[in-house]
């Protein structure tokens, strides 16, 4: 099985995000970055499929030089090959990103392509389905379980939908996007980290991909901090009184019950 995982590097979700003066972006000085959490599931799933069926796993990451760190993390988990597409991931919208990823993927052999359900920075949920369209592949999004058939020609995936789970059979090759709890991602080991250092990361730039005048269709006018929540009230007194007061406030002031 040849498996490709599209991995994005995103700001650490533990940290505070500050919008730059003027609203043209966020303050990136001192910002810590991590592998997008959903890709941890995607990489883990790829490794498990490889362990069962044999084959190899390749990660592809589009982004500036800092993303090499995310690539190394994936290699340390056990990924075999890595491709870095040096681009500003802030200037390309998700559909343009998918275009660039597509051109890189077209140079490879693949049976399965895995993405995260969304990147936690832009939260778009667009790249997976757009890749599937550009590569003319079927897609199953938001999956919490993937079972590959013994013959490697199809897969049954469980996708999370409103009010339940849709069980979908798809022919392979196909694109899947990972939902939380698809599996339990492994941690990179020290041995893995040492081995990862020896793997060469392939770099493909615009010219290599034959992409010349690629532009984003959507245009960001402004980035704003979220609206402040109005200050709250702390209720004090004996538990019985507090509870009575809370019910009154919920009814008469907030009007929510």
């Amino acid at each position: 099985m040849k498996i490709i995982v599209c991995v994005k590097q995103v700001p650490d979700t533990n940290v505070f995000i500050k919008v730059r003066e003027g609203g043209d972006g966020i303050v990136t000085e001192g910002l810590a970055y991590v592998v997008n959490p959903y890709e941890e599931y995607a990489v883990e799933e790829a490794l498990r499929i490889k362990e069962k069926f044999g084959g190899e796993v390749t990660v592809i990451t589009l982004g500036p030089d800092r993303v090499v760190e995310a690539i190394r993390t994936c290699l340390a988990m056990g990924v075999d090959h890595a491709i870095h597409l040096p681009e500003s991931d802030d200037e390309l919208d998700p559909l343009a990103t998918a275009r660039v990823l597509t051109e890189a993927i077209k140079k490879l052999d693949y049976d399965i392509i895995l993405c995260g359900k969304h990147a936690v920075d832009d939260g778009a949920s667009q790249v997976g389905p757009a890749l599937a369209e550009y590569l003319d592949l079927p897609q199953v999004t938001f999956v919490r379980k993937i079972e590959i058939a013994e013959d490697g020609k199809s897969a049954i995936a469980h996708r999370e939908v409103e009010g339940g789970t849709q069980v979908v059979k798809s022919s392979l090759p196909a694109v899947f996007t990972a939902e939380k709890d698809l599996n339990e991602p492994r941690y990179p080991t020290l041995k893995g980290m040492m081995a990862a250092k020896r793997i060469q990361i392939q770099i493909l730039n615009h010219k290599d991909l034959g992409l010349h005048s690629l532009k984003s269709k959507s245009r960001r006018l402004k980035l704003l901090p979220p609206p402040e929540r109005p200050p709250g009230k702390m209720l004090q007194g004996e538990p019985e009184e507090i509870v009575k007061e809370l019910v009154r406030l919920l009814r008469d002031e907030a009007k929510v019950i």
Binding site: N14, S125, Q126, V247
Partner: protein, 323 residues
């Protein structure tokens, strides 16, 4: 034309569709455009309701093979409709199907898409979308080129008002030819979540519990409070990872991002990843024994105290006022 996708379930239009419908109407009127809806189902019985709510043209594809959402046949129906009727705007809900379909349609037609919008404003005749970024730690205002049609937007459920009014208008139902269905995927089964368990993403009131509950058996007091309020039960990641609650109930960055009108955080510290899932709730009540818990920064009403005392008392009080 402003076109919307009227997602339906067994003949009923869910709230998320009514929200897209009301937004479609709000945009179509000042633009002087007609409001159309795509209805893909095993029957077109929901068409009448759409007419009553202001839709003038319903493009209905009814075929038993279309009962379950599938990416490729639905993409074919949408793209051929768009190529024939050239709508200027297409609105979908940011549901599991809307998220799956919109990028595929946009990619096929080579047009732009802005997803997960929480606000849409007409400014000088063009639409400006507001959407959360960095899991709600910032908001972006985004546009698509005016000359490009259609401009596609997916709207976050519960961020827009639902259309309530019935006006009794007439609508034309145009039967859409169902394309040769591509069979690369097949829906084998839909496992429904058991009835009675309200979905945290859909409920108006959510009562969530965290590690402060000490053990899965103690969630009983949370469930009783939820029942007294007609609320759904949510959970922090800590208790989901511990196996006390199901992942579908998890609120937060790797769970659901919800916007109920009332949210209770009981024994939840309020880590940033939890906050991004609930900070847009209209009213937030926090119950925690630690006065320095970060959840109090978001709380509309904060109670410093032992949840094992407060929560049952609150349930009692609510039952009293009900009776």
């Amino acid at each position: 034309m402003v076109l919307i996708w009227a997602e339906e379930k067994e003949g009923i239009l869910p709230r998320s569709t009514l929200e897209v419908l009301s937004m479609g109407k709000k945009i179509a009127e000042p633009l002087g455009e007609e409001l159309g809806a795509v209805l893909i189902a095993d029957s077109n019985r929901a068409a009448g309701t759409l007419g009553k709510k202001g839709v003038r043209k319903v493009y209905a594809a009814d075929d038993p093979a279309l009962r379950d959402y599938r990416t490729e046949p639905y993409t074919q129906i949408f793209t051929s409709l768009i190529e024939e009727h050239h709508p200027s705007i297409l609105l979908l809900s940011h549901t599991s199907s809307g998220k799956d379909l919109a990028p595929r349609v946009a990619a096929r037609l080579n047009v732009g898409l802005i997803s997960d919008c929480t606000q849409l404003d007409l400014q000088d005749g063009s639409l400006v979308a507001t959407r959360p970024m960095y899991t709600g730690k910032a908001l972006a205002q985004v546009t698509l080129p005016a000359e490009m049609n259609p401009k596609i937007f997916t709207l976050r459920p519960k961020a827009f008002p639902a259309s309530e009014k019935e006006e009794g208008g007439e609508c034309e139902v145009i039967i859409v030819e169902v394309p040769q269905l591509m069979a690369r995927t097949e829906v084998l089964e839909l496992k429904k979540t058991p009835k009675g368990s309200l979905d945290v993403a859909e409920a108006d009131i959510v009562v969530s519990g965290g590690r402060g509950l000490k053990g899965p058996e103690n969630f009983e007091i949370i469930e009783e409070l939820a029942q007294a309020l007609g609320a759904a039960v949510g959970a922090s990641r800590a208790v989901v990872d511990a196996g006390w609650r199901d992942h579908k109930d998890q609120v937060g960055q790797t769970g659901k991002q919800i916007t109920p009108k009332l949210y209770f955080a009981c024994g939840i510290s309020g880590a940033i990843q939890h906050q991004v899932g609930m900070r847009n709730s209209k009213c937030i009540v926090a119950i925690n024994k630690d006065p320095n818990a970060p959840i109090f920064k978001l709380a509309s009403y904060g109670i410093v105290g032992d949840l094992f005392k407060i929560v049952p008392l609150l349930t009692e009080e609510l039952k009293k006022i009900r009776d």
